[in-house]
């Protein structure tokens, strides 16, 4: 690494405001600095943008098509419109496409965007003929630690990247198939215990839609007993080894129902291993057995 260069600024125009922004920033960062909220779904701070959902598109003067704000770097002289007619139409359609094909009921963010852009996904419903295609399928419950409900999957690629080179380096899951048949899969679509999965749960940690979920949460939801408002959050350090990962225990009715790690934690960046993520299962189970 070369020595740090002083931050160079470039001048760009966002929604009519002239802004000085660091040369390295993306349009999303530049918009945030300007107090403009650009919607994002697939993008996650700290991970390489997947560029997949396209909810973040903005209008860039001189560009034939809209550009994704989450990944596009600023360039001197850019003139950007973040809420133009074209932008709003594209975002509305993206939400109509998602809401008409995926179960978004556990993603408050997605629902908020659908409202914000006036999405009417029901307009694709046929009066006659077959209903519009969806990704609906049954929940995959093939182990005691986490479940996959791919009816909720928006194919944001976060879990694949988290399992792969962005964090875990296990590469147990990938996108398989293509087009509308594309899906998150293990090798030959095997159940997780027969795959390379090491149950670190990092994929769950990044999933924005609840498609990947702790089995404990899934079971409580099924029984209608999941109650986030009653949950207490306890910060602690993982006791299993010397790395010292920060844990957030989510406790409901005196039971740990899920474990996360703060995404901005310098040790974990939100990622854990099986012991930190699911160790509580064993502890609670053995306590209950005894």
């Amino acid at each position: 690494m070369s020595s740090r260069k002083p931050v160079q600024n470039v001048e760009i125009t966002i929604d009519g405001q002239l802004r000085q922004v660091p040369q390295e920033s993306t349009l999303v960062q530049a918009c945030q600095d300007a107090g403009i909220d650009v919607p994002t779904l697939c993008f996650l701070q700290g991970m390489t943008p997947a560029n997949a959902c396209r909810i973040c598109v903005v209008e860039l003067e001189g560009s034939r098509v809209l550009v994704p704000a989450c990944s596009r770097q600023v360039e001197r002289g850019m003139i950007v419109h973040t809420e133009s007619e074209r932008v709003r139409l594209a975002r509305r359609l993206v939400m109509e496409f998602l809401a008409s094909s995926v179960d978004l009921s556990l993603s408050e963010t997605a629902q908020e965007y659908a409202r914000r852009y006036g999405a009417h996904p029901e307009r694709f419903e046929a009066g006659v003929g077959p209903p519009p295609a969806t990704v609906a399928q049954s929940v995959k419950v093939d182990n005691d630690l986490y479940v996959r409900d791919l009816s909720r999957c928006i194919l944001c690629y976060r879990c694949v990247d988290a399992c792969g080179e962005e964090a875990q380096n296990t590469f147990a899951i990938s996108v398989a198939g293509r087009g509308f048949d594309a899906r998150i899969a293990t090798q030959f679509d095997h159940p997780l215990p027969d795959s390379a999965c090491v149950f670190c749960g990092n994929c769950i940690g990044v999933c924005p839609t609840g498609a990947l979920m702790f089995k404990s949460e899934h079971d409580l939801r099924k029984q209608g007993r999941w109650d986030e408002s009653s949950q207490a959050l306890t910060e602690t350090i993982c006791p299993y080894c010397g790395v010292g990962c920060a844990l957030t225990l989510h406790v409901q009715d005196n039971r740990i129902v899920k474990v996360t790690s703060p995404p901005d934690n310098s040790v974990t960046r939100g990622h854990l291993c099986i012991k930190g993520r699911f160790g509580f299962e064993f502890v609670q189970e053995s306590e209950e057995k005894s």
Partner: protein, 603 residues
């Protein structure tokens, strides 16, 4: 990487297929073979045993140090690879536009009676046939590709196919010889041809013949005038890319020549999969040495020591001819180290595509070569900065390259003397559908559409012209009133159309244009890579909406339905990552507004 494989083992046959590509396994530790061998290794298995089993996939992963889930994601991306058992011999019957006009649907029905139902594309089974998108043989419609796996795998194309011919081929009773070039090129032997002038006059399998007719003089001249000289001539020629985007070739070359990061890569895009397009196939089959010479010149000019031809998997004859030409060139010292001079070294490799239209998009093509799913990348960065393997890369279409030797020999100004001011040179047009003489035509850019149709004999007697699809499925429709339209980049752009890949599909009044639009919509739904929401979901919503409107017969589409369709098209155009999604609504929109709605009596 610590990869974890399932217990399934490869059969000796599968292992042998992989080893004959990668070499025998020397030690059990991961060899540094490189992930970029993934697609060739999958092909090795597929073409030996007809499918890729879990054991075979495991073995490939073990040899190349790729995680099996990752390799599974790659293998499941391509239509010509199967992850379930399939028959060794398999017929792929084209159901695309030109073949539909020549009775491919009836043919499929007959085949179904004899062979049972076809295998759906995403769920292949043991059915001996399946339907296919355009096979790039539209002048010989209906077309069938027959793939045969085995120790000697042998694929072949049936043109103007019928049931008897197919059954004879499947039973191994007949091996139809490759078609004569003359059939595809009605202009054969005419004076004034540039790109097609050698076709039919040289033996495409013989380097000596190519050299006797002036071959490799251009490379010699390139070495004389140097890299800058070559780029100057290309700039003066005004050559614009022939792959669809019409980008100035010299600008790419210059950028890569100057790029400090090395190595540089040279790529020829021979994935030709745009429905209605077969020009690159003819050049590859009939004049392969010219492409190799052209690429050597480009490599020299831009400082590339390594190049790839990414060839569509459905072109068996082109592959055979190009392989043969490369072998001869290598043997004659015209590929490899020190070609004609100490300063020029160039190694070339063919990469066989595996059934994915999207892999013609340049960045998807790079991912495919590198052994990843053929998903386009976000641009910028552009290929000249970060292309194949992340390095500065020149990528051009086959026809673009084919112009280079003449430009170097005769000078850029000579090239620019043909065509129009902004669209220099000649261009290949692929005529198919309702014309008397379908085939490949070479005319100066700026020739009017009417004049081109006339060359092809116009529409058959007793028929009248209804519409023309310019540029393939990614293009748009023009009508009988557009015969005065000059076929130049600028004039088509001004008319809201595009030359695209050079496909010119002609429809007469007997063709059901609703069926054509539905087929185009289905094509995009099948070929979307699935990476981005606007295209992944937009293409299927477009098809559904169109089906609803068109299935109702005479009842007019409601205002809401039409609005939904046009908004779907706009969102795909504005918000998709790549050109596939960006153009997926264009032909449907232009076809609807031109032909279907006026006839449907809307308001």
């Amino acid at each position: 990487m610590d990869i974890r494989l399932s217990p399934e083992q490869p059969t000796p046959e599968e292992q042998d297929a992989v080893n004959s590509l990668l070499g025998p396994e020397i030690s059990s530790s991961a060899e540094k073979l490189g992930r970029h061998r993934l697609l060739p290794a999958l092909w090795a298995v597929q073409s030996r045993v007809g499918w890729v089993s879990e054991g075979a996939l495991n073995y490939v992963c073990h040899r190349l140090d790729v995680a099996p889930a990752d390799a599974y994601g790659v293998a499941s991306f391509y239509r010509l690879l199967s992850l379930t058992p399939r028959p060794l011999t398999l017929a792929h019957i084209c159901e695309d536009l030109a073949c539909r006009m020549k009775g491919s649907e009836d043919l499929c029905q007959e085949v179904e009676k004899h062979l049972g139902p076809s295998a759906p594309a995403h769920q292949p089974g043991m059915a001996p046939w399946q339907k296919s998108a355009c096979l790039g043989q539209c002048d010989r419609a209906p077309a069938i590709l027959v793939t045969r796996s085995g120790r000697i795998s042998q694929d072949l194309i049936l043109g103007e196919a019928d049931l008897a011919q197919l059954l004879a081929t499947l039973s191994g009773r007949s091996l139809s010889p490759p078609p004569a070039a003359a059939k595809s090129i009605p202009q054969l032997g005419e004076k004034g041809l540039r790109l097609l002038r050698r076709v039919g006059r040289i033996d495409p399998t013989n380097l000596v013949d190519y050299r006797a007719q002036g071959g490799y003089r251009a490379l010699a001249r390139a070495l004389q005038i140097g890299s800058e000289g070559v780029i100057r001539e290309v700039r003066d020629s005004g050559l614009l890319g022939r792959g669809g985007a019409a980008f100035p070739t010299a600008r790419k070359w210059e950028a890569v020549a100057k790029a400090p990061r090395r190595p540089h890569y040279l790529v020829c895009n021979a994935d030709e999969s745009e429905p209605g397009t077969f020009k690159d196939r003819v050049l590859l089959e009939e004049d392969p040495f010219n492409l190799i010479e052209a690429m050597s010149i480009a490599a020299f000019a831009t400082g590339c020591e390594r190049g790839y031809v990414y060839l569509r998997g459905e072109y068996p004859l082109a592959k055979q001819r190009l392989e043969n030409a490369m072998d001869q060139a290598r043997a004659a010292g015209l590929l490899g180290e020190r070609i004609l001079s100490a300063e020029c070294s160039f190694e070339l490799e063919i990469r066989k595509g595996a059934g994915a239209y999207i892999c013609g998009e340049e960045t998807a093509l790079f991912n495919s070569i590198e052994g990843f799913r053929g998903e386009p990348r976000s641009k910028p960065p552009f290929p000249v900065t970060a292309g194949l393997f992340g390095m500065p890369t020149v990528i051009n279409n086959v026809e673009t390259f084919a112009n280079i030797p003449d430009i170097v020999l005769d000078g850029g100004a000579d090239f620019a003397s043909r065509g129009t001011k902004d669209s220099t040179g000649t261009r290949l047009f692929c005529l198919s559908g309702s014309v008397l003489q379908p085939g490949l035509y070479e005319v100066p850019l700026g020739t009017t559409l009417g004049a081109l149709l006339e060359r092809a004999g116009g529409v058959p007697e007793n028929r009248s012209l209804r519409g023309i699809l310019l540029g393939g499925a990614a293009g748009s429709f023009v009508g009988p009133g557009d015969s005065g339209l000059p076929l130049s980049f600028e004039a088509t752009r001004a008319a809201g159309a595009t030359l695209g890949s050079g496909a010119v599909m002609v429809f007469d009044d007997s063709v059901d244009l609703k069926d054509v639009l539905l087929r185009i919509a289905a094509f995009f739904r099948e070929e979307s890579c699935g990476q981005c929401v606007p295209c992944r979901v937009g293409t299927i919503r477009q098809e559904e909406a169109l089906q609803r409107i068109l299935s109702r017969g005479a009842a007019p589409a409601s205002r809401e339905e039409l609005l939904a369709l046009s908004e779907i098209a706009q969102a795909m155009r504005d918000a998709s990552i790549c050109g596939l999604g960006q153009t997926a609504g264009a032909a449907v929109q232009s076809g609807l507004t031109r032909f279907v709605l006026p006839a449907g009596g809307e308001e």
